[in-house]
């Protein structure tokens, strides 16, 4: 009998296992225990039921694609193959896929991630950043091939050619997609000029949209300094990326429509402002012109001399007339008073009486004599006649009491 080395034995068993049709591709159902994620990213656990257990390893590349966080005690379905780990001489189940056991398990896992992120506040409305109204530079994180990028570029160009488009090419499905997308979002964030990011892809199966349901992509969107629009799949697809993004667009085309304004509309509103302004200015000037005209038509400006002097001249005329009238009136009054007084004076004048032969006598002191007692015999007296005077001497006097 041939003696084998341990190594020979081990590799023989290994080849037996690997060539078995059942063992090279199978689903195994069981409960997780001793779950460990190594620093390398590989995942190790034991799958067990009431009777037995088997060691399971899931390599990093596969483990990264996990939609849920496996935990001890969780019932799962593992797809993979059986092989031998030669160093330990132990057979293992090499897992390629891991799903929670039970109906809608994938959705349940999704829900779990969702509630975890929700609990952290990643979906909170207050976190949503305001999108720029007129973005000048847009970063697209998507596959450079395919209809989605073409649609986004075409629509952006048509609506808002002002914007510069920067494309961060990534694969949007497959095992590298989540890491690439997350890395690209971080990379775009290093570009100061980018004002808006659209991250997305066209429609596909849940499996194909899977990258947009991963934690790493969700966190990169949350960490983005630049506002993010998610544009994943079709109208009905709702991913975790959509929940974290600042705005969810139902499709990539819709994302482009939402990201940029229509240039024609913007131009129309600029023109409308301009028209309003011109209209207002015309009106404003018309009002000023009217006011100016009103003023210039005023008499005082048209015929300043007339306006300023006429009135005054009229007053002067009136006063002059009054003065003349007053003076004449006064003169007439004085004249009539004079003639009245003259008449009266005339009536009182002794001359008329004297003309008839009367005379009066003045004494030596010049006073008019009324009584004989006023003079003494021998006194010189003057007799005043109508015409002329007589110088006389009193020879005798007869006094009378009456």
């Amino acid at each position: 009998m041939r003696v084998l080395t341990v190594r020979e034995l081990t590799s023989h068993i290994k080849s037996l296992l690997e060539n078995d049709r059942l063992l090279s591709g199978l689903w195994v159902k069981g409960e997780i225990s001793n779950f460990k994620r190594a620093a390398s990213g590989h995942v190790y656990f034991t799958l067990k039921d009431h009777f037995s257990c088997v060691r399971v390893v899931m390599f990093r590349s596969r483990a990264r694609r996990l939609l849920f966080q496996p935990e001890d005690g969780m019932s799962v379905l593992v797809r993979g193959y059986i092989s031998l780990y030669e160093r330990d001489g132990q057979y293992q189940l090499y897992a390629e896929e891991l799903e929670p056991d039970g109906a809608g398990a994938l959705y349940a896992a999704l829900e779990k991630l969702k509630s975890k992120l929700a609990a952290e506040g990643l979906f909170d409305r207050e976190r949503k950043r305001k999108l720029p109204r007129f973005p000048r530079c847009i970063g697209l994180v998507t596959s450079p091939a395919g209809a989605a990028v073409r649609d986004m570029v075409n629509i952006t160009r048509r609506r808002w050619p002002v914007a510069r488009i920067l494309l961060a090419p990534v694969t949007v499905q497959g095992e590298n997609a989540p890491a690439e997308i997350a890395r690209a979002i971080a990379l775009v964030n290093k570009l100061a000029e980018v004002e808006l990011i659209i991250v997305g892809r066209g429609g596909g199966s849940l499996e194909e949209l899977w990258a947009f349901n991963t934690e790493v992509v969700a966190r990169s969107i949350a960490a983005s300094r630049i506002p993010v629009i998610s544009a994943v799949g079709h109208e009905t697809d709702f991913t975790i990326a959509d929940l974290v993004a600042d705005l969810r667009a139902p499709t990539p085309s819709a994302a482009a429509e939402m990201a940029v304004p229509d240039r024609l509309e913007v131009r129309r509103s600029v023109d409308a402002y301009c028209t309003r302004m011109r209209h207002h200015m015309r009106q404003c000037l018309a009002v000023y012109r009217q006011r100016l005209e009103y003023c210039t038509k005023k008499r005082v400006l048209v015929k300043p001399a007339a306006a300023l002097c006429d009135q005054r001249r009229q007053t002067v005329d009136l006063l002059a007339r009054h003065l003349r009238q007053g003076a004449a009136e006064n003169l007439r009054a004085l004249n009539s008073r004079l003639s009245l007084l003259t008449g009266r004076l005339h009536a009182l004048s002794p001359l008329a009486t004297m003309a008839r032969g009367y005379s009066f006598t003045t004494g030596p002191d010049g006073g008019v004599l009324r009584e004989a007692a006023q003079v003494q015999i021998g006194d010189p007296v003057t007799v005043h006649l109508y015409r002329g005077m007589l110088e006389c001497t009193v020879r005798n006097k007869r006094e009378s009491s009456n």
């Binding site: 570029v153 002002v162 990379l187």
Partner: protein, 70 residues
């Protein structure tokens, strides 16, 4: 000045003018500014970017942009 700032200022200018009660000199100044802003906005709207920049990563993990016609 960004397009948005220009448009916002234009909006403000029009509203202030329409509110009225401004001295003529100020109105005329605002109007002149508004016309300038209109021209600026329209010039900005005329601009069209034909190329697409591809964002690539250099060995230090920094973004590099390569222009491409698309």
């Amino acid at each position: 000045m960004t397009f948005e700032e220009a448009l916002q200022r234009l909006e403000e200018v029009v509203n202030r003018l329409e509110e009225g009660n401004l001295p003529l000199e100020e109105s005329l100044e605002l109007f002149a500014e508004g016309i300038k802003l209109t021209k600026y906005c329209n010039r900005q709207l005329e601009e069209a970017e034909k190329r697409i920049g591809m964002i690539l990563e250099d060995e230090n993990g920094n973004p590099v942009i390569r222009e491409e016609e698309l």
